[in-house]
Symmetry: C4
Subunit: 251 residues, 4 copies
């Protein structure tokens, strides 16, 4: 009988996987959280320590560039130096069902507890429905005492934002984490919600680096953001040319 969720750890039993903080960057609005977490993992050279599979993920395989099919999975990476010990939660999908979100998040927290996590950062995008210039990083916490630290790092608490709450793992990790005594901070980069948004991820990363007291080279992420800007400019020009063309027919 297939398990609802399976967690496979790599390495031997004697490996020390203990961590202090967890950073979640699963897929979501504008892939803002996912890009930020994956960029950070890459820059730090984090190592994969576990894989999570579940019947709550969509019923399909993903095919990589080489034509090899893989079951959807979420992954746990780890990075440790003298200053920080971080567990990363990244992956292919969030749950496809409402109940699955609760059950998967509970499993993520089982892993976090096993590794000794004391604080969780969840990263995401905050869709505003239009293109924006000055990107704010909106925050929410699961304990009021965390607010000062968050504000000092450049994130803001905005009245009535996010109005509809925080949906999925980014929200439930704060809510269910609090019941296990873990501090939780959700950082959401503002984004249009229409495109993959590395620029918003970059703003998110600036706040997160400051909070963690570590510096992350953001060159690659800025490069992706620049490419996206060029792409958006072209799109705007094309739109404009199309409109002028239509007008010339009329005029």
């Amino acid at each position: 009988m297939i398990e609802d969720i399976s967690v496979d750890f790599f390495g031997s039993d004697s490996d020390d996987f203990s961590c202090d903080i967890m950073i979640e960057g699963l897929p979501g609005v504008g892939q803002v959280g996912k890009l930020a977490a994956e960029h950070m993992m890459e820059e730090l050279g984090a190592e994969k320590i576990a894989e999570i599979r579940s019947i709550f993920f969509p019923p399909q395989v993903l095919v990589d560039a080489a034509g090899v099919a893989h079951l959807p999975k979420n992954e746990i990476y780890r990075y440790a130096d003298e200053k920080v010990r971080i567990m990363f939660l990244v992956g292919d999908f969030q749950s496809g069902s409402a109940e699955g979100h609760y059950i998967l998040t509970d499993t993520y927290l089982d892993i976090a507890e096993k590794l000794g996590i004391k604080r969780i950062y969840t990263l995401g995008g905050y869709g505003v429905g239009h293109l924006i210039q000055d990107i704010r990083v909106i925050a929410a916490v699961n304990d009021e005492k965390l607010k000062e630290e968050v504000t000092n790092s450049g994130a803001v608490f905005a009245q009535d934002e996010p109005g509809g709450g925080i949906i999925g793992a980014s929200g439930l990790l704060l809510g269910l984490g609090a019941k296990r005594g873990m501090e939780g901070i959700c950082l959401m980069g503002e984004t249009s919600g229409y495109i993959v948004d590395p620029k918003s991820s970059n703003c998110l990363l600036a706040v997160l680096s400051k909070m963690l007291g570590i510096s992350i080279d953001s060159a690659k992420l800025q490069e992706r953001a620049s490419e996206m800007e060029v792409f958006l400019e072209r799109l705007k020009t094309m739109e404009q040319m199309k409109t002028e063309d239509e007008l010339s027919y009329i005029g």
Copy 2:
């Protein structure tokens, strides 16, 4: 493993939580029942005695005005004086799934039975699809012998209303409550269904107060209703101005 539903009682085991009647005001059409129950709780000074969390609630957290995230929860409050001992059921959400409605309602009734509830009032709105002046309070009961008492308090039994039955906890508490020997009365304030409707809640509260034989100061609720009236008037004026503008283009 996360529980489907968790119920956490506050206080010590020696606390006397026994009640005689239960009043349900969960979210629904026009928030009519929710506003009425919450206003009553506030005026009476009811105290929270338990919280209910469930994987049948939407998979998200709610963020309060201070930026603190909370798991969705329903709550049990209690008020007792020499005349009445009331258990209130209020909260953030109803179930997101059909089966969840049955399972959650069964849990609400477990709590009610534990507290000794003999009668349940469920409060809701009855959406009619247009703005109304004279708001009726429509009733349904789970035992025919309750009808006279209900009619004497000003609620009405309207032929073929509600035609589609009563959906969610307000309905199932009557149906499943009957199987446990509890009297059940559902009171539904007529409402357009388009807006949050404190005016309808106020009408509901008038009937309920009379049935319970207690007086509730409805000043605050009337104030909210007045504010909503002003807001609606402005909306109508704006609509009218817009129509006149359009006509002036034509005329």
Copy 3:
């Protein structure tokens, strides 16, 4: 903990509830099967012997003409004389979920087996998408040897009808019944699919009476069919008048 399905039998253990045939008339297209089964029960004076409730029914209560709320339920009635012993399955709803259909039908068959059922008739409507004059009764069986008997009674086996199969309890009782060694015959009265169709029910009943070798007074059902005809004629006249009005504006 609430059961997924509960079956409550009335009467004492010494009651003889044994039957030979089962007739299912749950809600469906045009309520054709439901009307036929309920009319037959009424004419024969069948008696209720059991009620079925389930979390697979929609999460609501139904309110009767007197304002009394009832949990949705399906019901088992029984009629027996020297010639026939019939178990009827009628009620408020079919399952709201796919899996629920299988699980509920399995429960219906548990009851049928307990009562000694050897043959099942399932009654339904066959929606054709337009008003029809000559109503055929389309049949399907779960054993080829039953076809001659069915054809002799006036029902027809129509190539490629029903093309999409038979959905819900009417179909699954045949399929799952076969695995328990029960004969199964599904009779479907043609109907537009737009209205409640007592005329189609009447045709269905004519075939069923002949198969069972009992006569059922169909006066009441014919009366309802006539009323519906009058209603449809009026509707047509109104449509025609409206069209003529529109034409007079143009001409």
Copy 4:
């Protein structure tokens, strides 16, 4: 209590059902995989050895040309000669729910393991959204070492195709099969996605025959493909005539 999935094997315990490879051709885009697998079974004279039924299939029966109703089922066929021993998985439906896909595929693999399967071929269509002349057979594998063999047989690995992954049993058999040490190759014939496409099935079969080193007479499948071509030509001619008619009104 009805089982979620039931598997019924035919024959006696002493029967040797062992196989080396499995071919899956369940319903999907253009029925490309289904037609290919069923044609191959017929030409080889494969024999049915097991049937699978499940509450995850749609809640209905299918009615055959003779008017006999059958529960939806998937079927296991077997063919063996001196060169090959093949298990076929074909049938009426895939799962109706996301979780059901995982659980059913797990059952398919239990059967495969029992029969000794070492390699799985899953067959399907790859919908491109327009009619095509030169049909490619797109491939995906669950182990990179299988690619050369696949390419040598005429299938292609196309960058970013299929972009959205492979949904349903064709995908999950590769993903979950890998965890059991079985080789997996998915072959997808390009197809418009609008019609049942025997021509695409025929291309699929050519690749598969070559990989298996057996020759399959494809005359019948080509005949069906020709009939479909004639049908499509007629459709195009009718469309053209209709357009010319409309133009003659204007000109």
